[in-house]
């Protein structure tokens, strides 16, 4: 029997629940840490970013309007499908990050656990971040956290799966929709994650994944007037100040993080808190 020929894949973007090629028609080779060819990834352009924002905006009313319980169920289901793809993720994380199988397994397990952890939060956010406020008057005043809207997420450049999930999960768990720019040199786990999302119950457009040059796409997302918040985690160091500045042009919420963030650390609520806004209601009470 002759040897099987390996298939050199060319992956696509994930926008609005579909897998389109980049509008620009470009792709770029992805290699492992030793420089061996892994696959081609689509090289997204500003117009792909624009389409992704439009898709995320379209998905926002449905996703933010779904009950917290329902969002939790959908995210748990995603974790189940992630689990089913565990071996593929282990291989991809191993190749992308140059770690041994054992370490890669630990990273993938931690990533899936992270997703489950955030899935559990959906129906507890309002309890923990909301409040009934004591006021001096015959009013019942209460504050509830509401999702911010469309969040542009620059995924971490180093941690290709655990880092990615640590930044995407809190955004969608809080009821936002996301446009994610995957790690530039390690995009394959993000591509596989988008395949997972497409085959789980997550509505199309809630998470959109762009691959390509972060420095090329990020400025367009930072200045886009229909993006409500920006997560700078994976932003190139030289670009951070500019991105913050153009984000200020349309008053976006910006999450600044240390570029060397350690994602193996236990997560906390800070990333959920960063992408919700408090709505306070005053309601007159009985006479």
């Amino acid at each position: 029997m002759s040897e099987r020929i390996s298939v050199a894949k060319t992956y696509k973007l994930y926008i609005g629940g579909a897998f389109p090629r980049s509008e620009s028609g470009r792709s770029y080779p992805v290699t492992d840490t030793k420089g061996a060819f892994l696959a081609n990834a689509a090289q997204g352009s500003r117009k792909d970013a624009r389409d992704a924002v439009a898709a995320a905006r379209k998905a926002f009313p449905g996703w933010s309007g779904a009950t917290a319980y329902n969002r939790g169920q959908v995210l748990y289901r995603v974790a189940e499908v992630l689990e089913g793809r565990r071996e593929q993720f282990v291989a991809e994380v191993g190749a992308a990050e140059g770690v041994a199988v054992k370490k890669a397994q630990a990273l993938v397990d931690a990533a899936i656990d992270r997703w489950v952890w955030y899935a559990g939060w959906t129906d507890k956010i309002a309890t923990v971040l909301g409040a009934s406020n004591p006021v001096a008057g015959p009013y019942f005043s209460f504050s509830v956290p509401e999702p911010t809207g469309v969040v542009a997420v620059l995924a971490p450049q180093q941690s290709s799966l655990l880092g990615l999930i640590s930044v995407v999960a809190p955004v969608v768990a809080a009821g936002n929709t996301a446009v994610v720019v995957a790690s530039q040199d390690r995009p394959l786990p993000a591509v596989t994650l988008s395949e997972v999302l497409a085959t789980s119950d997550l509505p199309g457009g809630v998470v959109n994944v762009l691959t390509g040059r972060t420095a090329e796409i990020a400025p367009w997302l930072a200045s886009h007037a229909d993006v409500n918040a920006l997560d700078l985690t994976g932003a190139p160091e030289a670009l951070r100040a500019d991105l913050e500045q153009s984000a200020a042009g349309t008053v976006k919420r910006v999450l600044r993080t240390r570029p060397s963030e350690d994602f193996t650390r236990e997560p906390d609520l800070s990333r959920i808190r960063a992408f919700v806004e408090s709505k306070t209601v005053w309601h007159p009470i009985g006479v």
Binding site: R50, V53, R57, W220, S223, H224, A225, D226, V227, S246, G249, T250
Partner: protein, 321 residues
């Protein structure tokens, strides 16, 4: 058929066509058939033209000036018409240089409100009439409907043809109706809605276009917006060919108005390319080409801002309608 009632003087060949029912039918069925594959391919081909930078900005401004800002809902209120009129006068309040739209298009009972709001602005008030959108009523009612809108001050009337009569081959009846509505319009411009989504074939679109032009329609309009498919590029191509051929034969300029389903700037620009290439550059004016639209205007404004400000704009920065 009361063919003698046509006002415009036509060249002999066309005058002969409207002499009686039989000759009208002969004329319409004698029109060359539309090459379906060809027209669709041509429309798709012209759609790939790349219009950028200054040309795009010009196209956006031209498209804005061609918009018939439309609200045709059962839930229309005077308040909604007033806010629509305000938007027509100044589409982008932060940028006074944005051209005003061509017309505001409403139901007949809203005409008075629109006229009051648009006095002295040069913006036309268009009204749908003749039992819009189905056209299923008696001629008497249709003429009353038209007169009601004209009396209220409408300067443009969008009438629907009787598709039932057209499809069953009673061309003379359709012709007479258009002629009489045109008469009822007086000085108001008449746009004839063919409702191409119900005409089934391009050949029918071509026949209906010629029928409307022969009967004296100032504009031919694709659709009511209540039927899917509404305006499409190939259908508009066929209609643009009709007005171009009409000009060749009579020297008169007649307009085209695609309506319904045009929501994006990109689509609007494709239409402008088609106008330029199929009919000719003379038609690139609000007097001869219009867009029947409501959501298109917001997208045009957002694209205009994107061009000028260098970053993408969002729906939070334009009015909600």
């Amino acid at each position: 058929m009361a063919a003698t009632s046509t006002a415009p003087s036509l060249p002999p060949a066309l005058a002969d066509a409207v002499r009686d029912d039989a000759s009208l039918r002969r004329f319409l069925h004698g029109l060359p058939g539309v090459d379906q594959v060809g027209v669709e391919q041509r429309a798709a081909g012209l759609g790939t033209r790349s219009i950028k930078k200054a040309a795009k900005l010009w196209a956006i401004d031209t498209a804005i000036s061609m918009v018939d800002l439309t609200t045709l809902e059962g839930a229309d209120t005077p308040g909604k018409v007033r806010s629509l009129a305000a938007k027509a006068r100044r589409p982008d309040p932060e940028r006074p240089e944005v051209p005003k739209v061509a017309a505001v298009c409403v139901y007949p009972d809203m005409v008075a409100t629109a006229v009051q709001e648009l006095q002295g602005t040069g913006i036309n008030v268009a009204s749908v009439a003749t039992a819009f959108p189905s056209g299923r009523s008696s001629l008497k009612v249709k003429l009353e409907d038209t007169a009601f809108a004209v009396d209220a001050g409408a300067t443009e009337i969008d009438m629907v043809i009787d598709r039932g009569a057209f499809l069953s081959g009673r061309y003379g009846q359709v012709f007479d109706e258009i002629v009489q509505v045109k008469h009822a319009c007086g000085d108001a411009h008449l746009k004839v809605i063919l409702e191409t989504g119900e005409l089934a074939t391009y050949d029918n679109v071509r026949r209906a276009s010629w029928l409307a032009l022969l009967a004296g329609g100032d504009f031919i309009k694709t659709s009511t917006g209540k039927v899917t498919p509404a305006a499409t590029l190939p259908v508009t191509h066929v209609m643009l060919q009709a007005v171009r051929d009409w000009r060749t034969q009579t020297g008169q300029l007649r307009g085209v108005k695609p309506a319904g389903g045009i929501r994006a700037t990109k689509d609007a620009i494709k239409y402008l390319v088609a106008v330029h290439e199929v009919a000719g550059p003379e038609w690139l004016t609000p007097d001869l080409f219009r867009f029947g639209a409501s959501t298109l205007l917001n997208d045009l404004l957002m694209q205009r801002r994107t061009q000028l400000e260098g970053h993408y704009s969002g729906p939070d920065y334009v009015t909600v309608d």
